[in-house]
Amino acid sequence: MNKKDININVEYLTRVEGHGNIVVNVEDGKLEKCELQIVESPRFFEGMLVGRSIFEAQHITSRICGICACGHTLASVQAAEDAIGFKPSIQTIKLRKLLLHFENLDSHLLHIYLLVAPDLLGVKSFVPLIDSHNKVVRRALRMKKACNDLCDILVGRHVHPISCIVGGFTKLPKEIDLDNMLGILNGMLPDMDATIELARNLKFPDFERETEYVALVSDDKEYPLLMGDVGSTDGVRMNKKDYKKITNEFVVPHSSAKHAKLSRESYAVGALARFNLNYDKLHKKAKEIAKAISLKPKCTNPYLNTAAQLIECVHCIEDSIAIINDLKEKKINQEETVVVGLNEKKTVKVNAGNGVGAVEVPRGILFHNYEVDEKGIIRKANCIIPTSQNVNNIEFDMQKYVKENLERSEAEITLGLEMLVRSYDPCISCSAHMLDVKFINGKK
Amino acid sequence: MQIYKILKKSNLDSLVSILSKKQKFMAPVSKGLNKFAFESVTSSKDIALKYIPTILAPKKYFMPQYETLIEYDTKEGQNMKAVVEYENMVLFAVHTCDLAGIQCLNIVFSDRPKDLNYLVRKNKITIIGLECNEVCDEYSTCAFMDNDLPNGGYDLFFTDLGEYFIVHVNTQMGDAIINDTKLFEDATVSHINELEKLREKKRKLFINQFGIDRQKIPELFDKSKESQIWDDIGNRCLSCGNCTNVCPTCYCFDVMDVQNLDLKTGKRIRVWDSCQNETFAKVSGGESFREARSDRKRHRFYRKFKYPVNRYSRFFCTGCGRCTRTCMAKISLLETLELLIKENKVK
């Protein structure tokens, strides 16, 4: 084996949401250190929630992350309703599923185009692509805009949705809004085809590491995103209320994100985990695409998370169209519009309780947990973000990757590691904030 | 000679559908919680025939919230063209107080130098009034302001008499609707008697709550410049500007430029402004000429009851009650006037 020293020190890893560093230190061909440091300044959301009204939880926790704002909103609302003992209506649930689809679609597209594609096309960012692949950039921006417009119609805006709150929606789509959403979704189909075409031609690195995949699972036919139990490829199945037994969080000094593990040293969540666990329930068009790009469960190449995202995009569009058609048929009941505010008028009945929300957001399963008193004041809050669950797994991937690629140059390893981390689409804003690769000098 | 026609209620929908095909047809619609707004409709079932003053007065069609005055292009110097954006429309079911409001605006914008943007737009709007058979609510002071009965300012005027509307034809534009739609019949004496009866009944319903004659108001305000009442309501006021925005006769505005992304072209627009905003009368030296909230509140009342009387011989309060309904600090026009009357012992 090659007995060289490697010091990688990537500060402020770019093209991820949030701030992180990668630090690798190889001495005499021996891997001494390989860390994904989350150096985001902590923002103390859980602490800030204490003493506030449960009706503000969604507004505040949405601000954990602008990229997954709709995801946080949905998890928060679910946890809050669970805590106070409120049951949402069927119409509300359908609309929330729709919102979750829009969120996943939007985030996946952003990740595929702006964050991953530049690596695979061998450029630094989408900016040089404006000249070299102008059509691709325009398509990306167009699709991104379409997702935005969808969210604008449904919840007022994509970043920090307005109308989705505890109890339901403060504004419900009208007939014309449903039509407009359908129009946008159908309009996206050709661009989606072109996206698949593009992805088909991209080369993902060969790399495998067997690990445990965790995602929501359910007994019905629906690809579970908003509701279900928590399951894993190692055969675990638990109620979401037991989320702490799944995440087993621990703090490490080099990261402001907490780490997690379940049946083995680490586990992974996200599009690939969902794909591995729930492949059968994907929309048939999505399955066709999976076949076409020969992605099969259980896939253990983390780089292919991006491919799983692509497949989910197809699923989201198709299922959204189905949901909207169903809503059109059943007609939106505008009477269900909720007026809540701080619950001044006690429109929502509040019981003391402890509630958990578990929602499959773009990067994996997101847990929110609130304990409220009988007045609806939050006494304790906890949020476990997909990226924090993944960080541990990413570090194990990184170690294996470095060991297998020691003969390569530092620059090549750095790029490989950056791409590896990026393929998880880590959202460090969520987990705290920040990602940076640092190859520490080994001769200290 | 007065021309009256009859429109059977059953023909209302045909009227709406014929007129709404040719141009925009705006009518009051319900927004829930006893709130209404003028919106575009295509069928009579969307119209709230019984409504209390809409959130915004119909002035929004005569001088829109945002209105383009000039389109410019500075690629080669200060090139521009002055434009007016308008829409042909029928404004349906305008209450008498709002007709008075439109008349006030007409006076202001026809005053020299004439405001062409307003006047062009106004000429594209056909106004169909609708009589109030009952007082809207406790905030209305239309009887005091003499706006409970029609006093011109419309093309057609509808009065709901149960099975049918009796329609007063006031202008050629109104006449054209009668002729084009062929939905109206001639009114007979008995119809006109019915109308008289309704008006007679209204005289008992629509009463002056203040016990003084309207003509005493200017005198009242002459005496009230330094009243403590302005401080009292000033202390409560949030300067949110709701009262001026909803007022049918407030027309203060700001002018500003909106650039396009190319930084070369764009438009100069005028936007509703409010004398209740703290910065409204601030100058570059730092002085604000109505810095105290009480001064701003006083200004608003005087702009309704005193200054326009000097300038245009007309009150600029129509009695619609919107400012009182909208104020979350519960500053009431009616109460304020009552207090002023009491304080000054005007009879």
Binding site: - | I70, D115, D254
Partner: protein, 278 residues
């Protein structure tokens, strides 16, 4: 939405050219402007124009030159915000938009044949320069002329060379003061009001013309009245926030008068009872 072109809109600007600029102080810049075809602006001293720069906005600016200057006119602009900052970037040959002149200027016909007492504080010299230069150009039509000038510091004084000329003229009595002197300053130090008692004048035939920052008026007028100048012989120019210049936007309204049309020049007698005017 339909659109129609308006050829007579009051908002149409005339394209004018910057003929000459000069930096007066750190804050003030001087502009000489010519209208299309060197047309005369035909203004009265005391009137103002709306200066327009598309993409930025409009600002009311007093005309600083005498109407006796026919082919062009002067402006003097203090940099305080959007339009004024952008104006400071203008150089010779640049194009700007002009609307106006607007408002009522100084009543020259009434002033003719009488003694004049000019009092200018700070930027107030700008509109007064128009009248003073007019009076000097038509010197025979007027009686005695007194000029009092006040500014913050010696280097904030505007039109220094012209002031020197006024100072040297034998048919004009000139005096000035600064709030804060610098070592080179040999003149008066103190508020402008302190100079008024010393001015020699015949109150019956003197018209006082006062322009300055809002807080100056109250004190100056008190001194003038102490000198027995009748209220109807005191004229002043008021500054208010303005948007349209057409007596509509409401910003410049003081009770029932619109500063942009009924003013900016008012007779003290006419506005003394108006709340918030002074």
């Amino acid at each position: 939405m339909k659109k129609q072109i308006l050829n007579n809109s009051e908002y149409i600007i005339k394209k004018a050219k910057v003929v000459r600029t000069k930096k007066l102080t750190d804050l003030e810049k001087f502009f000489e402007i010519s209208m299309p075809n060197n047309e005369s602006l035909d203004h009265d001293p005391g009137q103002f124009v709306e200066v327009s720069l598309f993409g930025v906005g409009e600002a009311p600016i007093s005309i600083a030159s005498s109407p006796t200057m026919r082919n062009s006119f002067d402006l003097c602009v203090r940099r305080v915000g959007k339009v004024t900052s952008e104006m400071h970037k203008l150089e010779q040959g640049d194009e700007i938009g002009i609307r106006g002149p607007f408002g009522k200027g100084f009543p020259i016909r009434i002033l003719e044949g009488n003694d004049l007492f000019f009092i200018a504080g700070g930027l107030g010299i700008v509109p007064l320069r128009s009248l003073i230069n007019y009076v000097i150009d038509n010197r025979r039509d007027f009686g005695n002329v007194n000029i009092l000038l006040g500014c913050k510091t010696p280097d904030s004084m505007l039109f220094g060379d012209e002031v020197e000329i006024w100072q040297k003229r034998l048919d004009v009595n000139f005096n000035c003061t600064v709030d804060k002197a610098d070592p080179d300053w040999a003149g008066n130090v103190g508020l402008i009001t302190s100079l008024i008692p010393g001015v020699n004048l015949d109150p019956d035939r003197t018209f006082a013309i006062v322009v300055g920052p809002p807080i100056m008026y109250k004190f100056v007028i008190k001194e003038l009245i102490a000198k027995k100048i009748p209220e109807r012989q005191i004229y002043l120019s008021l500054e208010r926030h303005m948007k349209c210049g057409l007596g509509r936007c409401g910003h410049c309204q003081i009770e029932d008068i619109y500063c942009c049309q009924d003013g900016p020049v008012f007779c003290y007698d006419q506005i003394k009872k108006i709340r918030g005017a002074i």
